[in-house]
């Protein structure tokens, strides 16, 4: 790959074709109304959108067939950027979905695998890989197995992007940290390490325009209004990327698990006493790591390697919550450069996203790593760690090709793990 041909980059200054400055659509709040709606479906004597006859718009004056399809019109695409779904044609059999956002690619929902283990047929259904949003145009259908949210009653048939994200982005954070649906105007997104801070005259959007207390999509009948406020978190401004060389660190502050419990109420476990019965795995603001887990997290590198330190032990496959709403502190570590890999401290707690991805993953239960077998990797003849190339008769691969496994780990080479690496539950529990 040596230089032999001059790159043609020069463009005449007279062209004046520079890109419009605004690339953001939501900008932390409500976007251009006409991006999603048509008011009368009539302009200059003709229908504005040909989706419906003149003077007749879609439901809620939407231009799309359903809410999630309207979102995916923009958010499905080529790798990178703000895309969170991959088209079928771009992820044929044997290849993984393209997006590597912290939330994951919904395309994994369409990746089902069959294989055999010790002669018995086994499956790894795509339906189990994530939140089964309903987006008819894009081939996403409701979860046929879990018809309501685990631990709650939110109906799977109504699960949409707008179940979690307020498409109108009304929730805002002001300079005091207070969150409200009105008040100061939203001047920019509040999701990124590069986002301007709220001021005395302007608020910023909450993390990922999530819905907060009282939120319920208009299209959902019944009483499902959120009782928990939006979480505090900050993402690096470039976040949809391979982590082959450096990790994408989202700074989770607090309240993520409480917010998830808006739908998964029965799964929240912020306070607990080890050894008690009748519990679910701790996750919540009160689920502090404790001295033993904290020491394990900061020492664990991979199976058999406990040489880590508190300065370099962060792992985006097992992120923790900082137990803080200090946005300055969160912005300082929300990087994609590996410049801030500091581990957990006494304020840190487990949250749902310590184990799960919010959208979807390559693994069952939308986990960040494999868990249906004791190993994540195997070894080659020389003892080097490799992803299992056997996608037909191996419990380790769960039907995924080696390339798919690597993509599911966001591009990490298998040598980032030990040969015969045990599951990353051990990042906290160190039983391997």
């Amino acid at each position: 790959m040596k230089k032999a041909t001059q790159v043609s980059l020069a463009v005449a200054a007279s062209l004046l074709i520079s890109a419009p400055a605004a690339f953001a659509f939501h900008s932390g709040g409500v976007a251009e109304c006409e991006g999603c709606h048509t008011m009368h479906n009539s302009l200059d004597g003709a229908a504005m959108t040909s989706a419906t006859p003149q003077f007749q718009a879609g439901p809620y004056l939407l231009q799309g067939n359903d809410a999630s399809s309207a979102c995916l019109n923009c958010h499905q695409g080529s790798a990178g950027s703000y895309h969170i779904s991959t088209a079928d044609a771009d992820m044929p059999a044997g290849t993984a979905p393209l997006q590597m956002t912290p939330g994951g690619d919904f395309g994994w929902l369409k990746k089902s695998y069959t294989f055999t283990v010790r002669g018995s047929a086994a499956t790894n259904p795509g339906e189990r890989h994530g939140h089964n949003i309903v987006a008819g145009d894009y081939g996403y259908v409701a979860d046929a197995t879990l018809t309501v949210a685990p631990g709650g009653s939110y109906p799977a048939a109504n699960l949409a992007c707008s179940s979690c994200h307020d498409p109108h982005g009304k929730y805002r954070r002001d300079a005091t940290g207070a969150i409200a649906t009105t008040g100061l105007p939203i001047k920019n997104s509040g999701s990124y390490n590069t986002s301007a801070d709220p001021t005395t005259w302007g608020a910023v959007g909450v993390y990922r325009i999530l819905g907060g207390i009282g939120y319920q999509p208009k299209s959902l009948a019944g009483s499902f209004g959120f009782t928990q406020q939006v979480p505090a978190a900050v993402a690096p401004s470039t976040y949809n990327r391979s982590e082959a060389t450096t990790q994408t660190r989202v700074a989770y502050g607090n309240n993520m698990s409480e917010w998830c419990a808006n739908c998964h109420t029965g799964l929240l476990r912020g306070s607990y006493t080890s050894g008690m019965g009748g519990l679910t795995h701790p996750a919540g603001n009160g689920a502090k790591l404790g001295a033993t887990i904290l020491a394990n997290y900061n020492a664990y590198v991979k199976s058999g390697d406990m040489s880590g330190t508190s300065a370099n032990s962060y792992n985006s496959l097992v992120p923790f919550e900082m137990g803080s709403t200090d946005y300055t502190a969160m912005k300082a570590v929300a990087l994609n450069t590996d410049a801030q890999l500091g581990g957990a401290d006494s304020n840190s707690n487990v949250n749902c996203l310590s184990c799960h991805r919010a959208h979807a993953s390559g693994f069952a239960s939308m986990l960040r790593y494999a868990h249906e077998n004791e190993f994540m990797t195997i070894a080659d003849a020389s003892g080097n760690s490799i992803y299992d190339p056997n996608s037909t008769t191996s419990a380790v691969s769960q039907g995924l090709t080696a390339a798919e496994q690597q993509a599911a780990y966001y591009g990490r080479d298998a040598t980032k793990f030990a040969p015969y690496q045990r599951l990353l539950c051990n990042k906290c529990h160190a039983k391997d």
Binding site: K2, K3, V7, T49, A51, P92, Q406
Partner: protein, 302 residues
Amino acid sequence: MTGVLAIGLTAPVFAAEVKASYLYNLSDFTGSKPFSSAKITLAPVKNEIYAMAGESVSVFNSSGMEVYRFDYDPTLGVVVDVAVEESGDIIVLAQQGAKFRLVRCNFRAEPVAPIELHGVPEGFASFAPNRILLRNGSLYLVSMAGMQVLVASPDGTVRKGYDLAHSLEFTEKERVNSGLGGFELDRDGNFLFTVPAIARAYRLLGDGTVKSVGKRGSAPGRFGVISGIAADKAGNVLVADTLRCVVLVFDKDFNFVKEFGARGIKPGNLVGPGDIAVDSEDRVYVSQLRKRGVSVFQLSLS
């Protein structure tokens, strides 16, 4: 279709001169092929249409009937795109793991020889193409996400590299936040491409001049979420709009002419149009979502 430039984008001009009539969907003997978001490649010499939408590549004759299909060969990798030479050989752009490779195959898609790229310019070290076109003896490899194009000889010698993000004066962050929605060459070899993030369609001429068109909106002539782009034999530029479910037609100076399609399930309706292509007979191939396959329209100019 020439000489009139000072016309507003939303004012249809020459509307009576362009007509798009629905013909059929690409089919096999059981009916319309239920592709979703298929990529379309034309093979003018053979009068064939190639459609890729997952497990295999389907080949259709000029009547839109599937005549051949090849499944992915594990030794070849996953077929990302294909281009067809005059000889009938198929150049396959395949992906193996995180790497891409070019392989010349015979007309049955049986591998003949790999094509190694030589002389890749600086700035293209992480170049990862996902589209390939073949025009006038040159291969055009396009990275849609990276907004870069390499032009190479069929033996893999790189002749030139284009960084479209630089051409548009994008910052690196803007490059990451945008990407291409569609890429095609017009009959003069100019680049046509779309950038959905800013609702704009471009033509990059050989001398480096860039022309563009696009304004967000729902009215005729405006862009919702655009994707594929192509040109007919008169030089008109067609742009698919996934959100508005139409194909917009502009003249070669980017004056809006008309649009066709409409969301729905009737013949001629479109659901989420994506990739498009126009053959030498001005037949327009429009790929859609929702297993709606590839619809074919006849464009006629009067």
